[in-house]
Symmetry: C3
């Protein structure tokens, strides 16, 4: 499937320069899909495929959908060369039930290309995590790990987050997602109102060498805007609602007020 | 229409056990539909029909849609054996205009299977309510009444709510909805920030014998989560957005962090 | 395309009378479209075309979509006699890049029927604005200007807003939009929580003679409700989400609790 976006390109240039096109190694966008049907999935791909790198079927939703439909949807997404994977919570469930082998085999057979390894809800010791990453890589999955706890009562100090990011990458993960949940509020890098905690952000940026290995879950526009202004248009962003993909891409290239204003400032 | 969800069932079991499948008498989910077109309705049904028991066409929206389209949509929803009904406000309007006879006849003819009898906005004395329920039952409708006022200035004491629930059931209603509106904030059981009022909830749970007769309008995830943890996976929930049906079902079965955490706690 | 809504019209009358039907000069509704695909666009038009006067392709999203798809979408919207235009920020970008000529030519060629002239993010002197309006009118576009700044730090005194509205109309604009952004919070007429600033609203209503020339960006239901109660069912409203068009129309005609309550009050 090709997607030519030549329309306006003889008219204007993007105010924020440098946005990478596919195939790209940074500037990734991950969609949080909570159950799009085939009509909506087609709409999403036809309008926005060049701006989507991963589609995550949130939580355990892929366990609830008709199997034939799930196969059709995975095939459709794959026809656009976009990676697709089930939510990490689902693998956490398989892990505590001692069924990771069956889980990996089935995920492979049904067509998923990526897997998220997380401990957002369960406790998982480091050896289990490492062996899970290794086992999933054996199956040929691209591995994205997630660092962070879903419950506000369990939050991890920034220094530990940094350590775990490094350990995961050393262990074979391609990328590490920083937990932001669907709301982006009172979780990880974000205060109760969704505002970015600047000290924590600076600490992570200072201590992680290759920032392109991180995918920031940033569901709110204010968060996306701040990360783009801070890290540039090719920051990796996740948990983006399907309805927000073009709006986010407008932010990335400076075709929306908030980042256009930034692009116009004297540097 | 059948909908086999066998995909993952050899892989894991649901962390929160006991979720009832269709046909079921409790664990009902009611969707708040504000005007889905046929493509979106098909998507919703294909992905989530096993998790939907009622579709409510919110407010007076069904009065605004092209008649042929409305008939097609009702037929489509009915082909999945899902009940469908117009918002209660619409019948309130017919009632104050002295047109309930015409309303009931037309609702029947066009294919609705349920009716909501409410006084969320108008004043309706008990005799009128009772005779409206009786008249609608004559037409063969399944009757859901709603208890609660839409305006924060008109809120009803919990004890009165309980009395009205009992009276409605005695009078022929199959279920009673507790008003939560579309926002779930500053209304009925919910504080201005959407938090559940625990005392009021406990009072209702203590005094209503058959809790499966109640449908809780709970549009926010935090509310759904709290009601599931408190009342179990088969609590009846309403005013769920179409985009949230699979997310809610994930909550019900423990495939989402918030209820998975609960399922894993030592009891 | 015709859209007969006769279904319920023999049953009830609308509690808030006077709503104008198409073709109409006031009571306009403008949809904020952030990237609907063709399936969703068809759904929107089939369910709600009689209640939509303009579709705005928000921000620079129309620059990001495949050109063939964009042409198909514009053609589809036009087949319902609904006006369609790209977001104002996009023309601001062309303006600062000295490419307004190319922009106007391309917008015309691709099928847009309206243009929004704004300075929500850039600085534009009055002569530039006036000549831009004139140039766009030369191309046959219907001109909607926008007054207001997107950044909370740049807000304009109400008296200046009024002056600019008058100047724009004198200069050839058909309508003037008052900036409310997508959120409706902390911008223009709206406080940080989205509440309407009554003094500012009263001042605008007092000093603008023909209030039908104004389109109020009012994305939140509470704002729509307040403007309908204050200005009547035929107030022009903009930045309405596609999912909210029938809900808004229910508000306009009194088929939703909030305005039904108002309609029933003794006057």
């Amino acid at each position: 499937m090709t997607h030519k976006v030549k329309a306006w390109q003889n008219v204007t240039t993007f105010p924020l320069p440098g946005r990478q096109e596919k195939p790209r190694k940074e500037g990734l966008t991950m969609v949080m899909d909570k159950g799009l049907g085939l009509n909506a999935t087609r709409d999403l791909l036809e309008t926005a495929a060049p701006y989507i790198d991963f589609i995550k079927l949130g939580f355990g939703t892929s366990a609830l959908v008709n199997e034939d439909l799930l196969r059709d949807k995975i095939r459709l997404v794959r026809s656009y060369n976009i990676d697709i994977y089930p939510g990490g919570t689902f693998l956490e469930v398989a892990s505590i039930q001692g069924r990771t082998g069956e889980y990996l085999a089935y995920a492979k057979e049904i067509g998923f290309t990526c897997l998220e390894v997380s401990d957002g809800t369960i406790r998982m010791d480091w050896e289990t995590r490492a062996s899970l990453i290794a086992a999933a890589r054996e199956y040929g999955f691209d591995i994205i790990t997630e660092v962070g706890k879903k419950d506000p009562r369990d939050q991890i100090p920034t220094r530990e987050i940094i350590e775990q990011v490094k350990a995961d990458l050393a262990c074979g993960a391609s990328r590490v997602i920083l937990e932001g949940r669907e709301t982006g509020k009172g979780i990880g890098l974000f205060g109760p109102d969704g505002s970015v905690k600047h000290d924590e952000l600076s600490e992570i940026l200072a201590y992680i060498e290759d920032i392109s290995a991180i995918i920031w879950e940033a569901p709110l526009k204010s968060q996306q805007q701040e990360l783009i202004i801070r890290c540039g248009p090719n920051v990796n962003l996740g948990n983006i609602a399907p309805t927000e993909i073009l709006a986010l891409e407008s932010l990335r290239v400076g075709l929306r007020g908030d980042t256009l204003r930034f692009a116009l400032q004297p540097k």
